[in-house]
């Protein structure tokens, strides 16, 4: 019995990087569906905070000089930034999982530049952030957030204070 080794295509390193990063990103995104418990808190917490904070602390908008008359306008950027942070943290946890399970060592043996391994994870994190931000912003607008004055869009890209 003879073992056959598939030759590695070294003529197109750029293509290898893109393919490897793409495959790893795809794997990371599949984990959202296969391991929802790891992603759900990052999605649910900012939505909950937008809703809860804007209702509980509704009255702060009446403090003289407060820069907006809608509490959800005030809390939505905070929740968006926090949700993005949590999504980024998820990248760290999934990398830890890969290191602990030995999968990362196997990736290091793959015939691809090392930075492609990082790029794949970063693409996953970026897509997760986009999902979270879309959900949080849509929920915020459903709960009354409205675009502000001349500053739109500013800061974390959601609601500029109404002056």
């Amino acid at each position: 019995m003879t073992a056959t080794v598939t030759p590695v295509d070294t003529t197109a390193p750029g293509g290898t990087v893109v393919r490897s990063a793409g495959a790893l990103a795809q794997r990371g995104l599949r984990n959202i569906r296969r391991l929802p418990s790891a992603f759900f808190p990052a999605l649910a917490m900012p939505i909950f905070q937008t809703i809860a904070f804007s209702g509980t602390f509704f009255a702060i908008t009446k403090i003289p000089g407060f820069p907006t008359d809608r509490s959800v306008n005030w809390y939505l950027p905070f929740a968006s930034v926090m949700g993005s942070g949590f999504s980024g943290l998820g990248l760290g946890f999934s990398t830890i999982r890969d290191v602990e399970s030995g999968f990362f060592d196997r990736l290091r043996m793959a015939p691809t530049p090392r930075w492609a391994l990082i790029a794949g994870s970063l693409i996953t994190a970026w897509v997760r952030v986009v999902i979270v931000l879309t959900a949080v912003v849509l929920m915020g607008f459903a709960f009354g957030a409205r675009r502000g004055g001349s500053g739109w869009p500013t800061g974390s890209g959601t609601c500029a204070p109404r002056r």
């Binding site: 809860a52 209702g55 509980t56 602390f57 509704f58 009255a59 702060i60 009446k62 403090i63």
Partner: protein, 254 residues
């Protein structure tokens, strides 16, 4: 009786020997109090805001109830860990009364809850907190902390006995967050509107907090004393009843 005392002592020792489990229940409420005090300091001048000397006076009751709720989850998770590791089964093999296993755990939770209330008072006093109810009011707040811990501990113990999983008990943490934020723990109900106000009105956490808060901001009145002690006691009757039912079901299934 001695078995119950021994079980209670073990629960308290567990809190003392595992600081990593209890420190968050002591630090996070203080963090929220500090954050609220600096962020919402001017909110005390809002219309409808209860008359208080400072926002920290208002925040003290919320910190106590928040800390006690977090601590109770830790207590319930410890009971579930006993079940997972087989210690609960070994206790059942001894001639100790079944109920004392539960009562010991709840007494330990109550002792830790009372300690938390005392801890928050002692830490926040130098920062300007004034308890209008005086020393007697502070003592009643500490008692209320213990009763609240026992009441909420009854629910987490029932969950631990029902599931036998520390992870499931820890999973109740987000529910506590929801209960805390949709109540008057962090901001007065009088300043809320619409659905938020209606939810806060029926949320028992609001009433738990407001009983204790009255002793801090308004003084020692029969109404505030009754609210601070009787509301957690009433919730405790229901939750301990639930945990006894869960204990009976677990024993029957063996």
């Amino acid at each position: 009786m001695s078995a119950t005392a021994a079980m209670s002592r073990r629960s308290v020792m567990a809190f003392a020997r595992q600081p990593a489990l209890v420190v968050p229940a002591l630090i996070f409420p203080l963090f929220f109090a500090a954050l609220g005090s600096s962020s919402f300091g001017r909110a005390v001048r809002l219309p409808n805001f209860p008359k208080v000397h400072s926002f920290l006076d208002f925040a003290l009751a919320g910190s106590i109830i928040q800390g006690v709720l977090f601590g109770s989850v830790t207590g319930g998770a410890a009971l579930a860990t006993d079940i997972e590791h087989g210690f609960f089964d070994r206790l059942l093999a001894t001639p100790v009364s079944r109920i004392s296993i539960l009562v010991g755990r709840l007494a330990g939770a109550a002792a830790f809850g009372a300690f938390q209330a005392l801890f928050f008072i002692v830490v926040l006093l130098p920062f300007g907190v004034r308890i209008k109810g005086g020393v007697a009011g502070a003592i009643i707040i500490v008692l209320a902390g213990g009763l609240t811990a026992m009441a909420v501990g009854g629910f987490t113990a029932a969950m631990a006995l029902k599931t036998g999983s520390a992870e499931a008990v820890q999973g109740s943490f987000p529910l506590l967050f929801v209960a805390l934020f949709f109540s008057s723990t962090f901001f007065p109900r009088q300043t809320m509107q619409g659905a938020y106000r209606r939810i806060a009105d029926i949320n028992p956490v609001s009433h738990l907090v407001e009983g204790v808060r009255g002793l801090v901001t308004e003084g020692l009145t029969a109404g505030h004393v009754a609210a601070a002690l009787l509301i957690p006691a009433a919730i405790g009757v229901a939750s301990i009843g639930l945990s006894l039912l869960a204990l009976r079901a677990r024993l029957a299934s063996r």
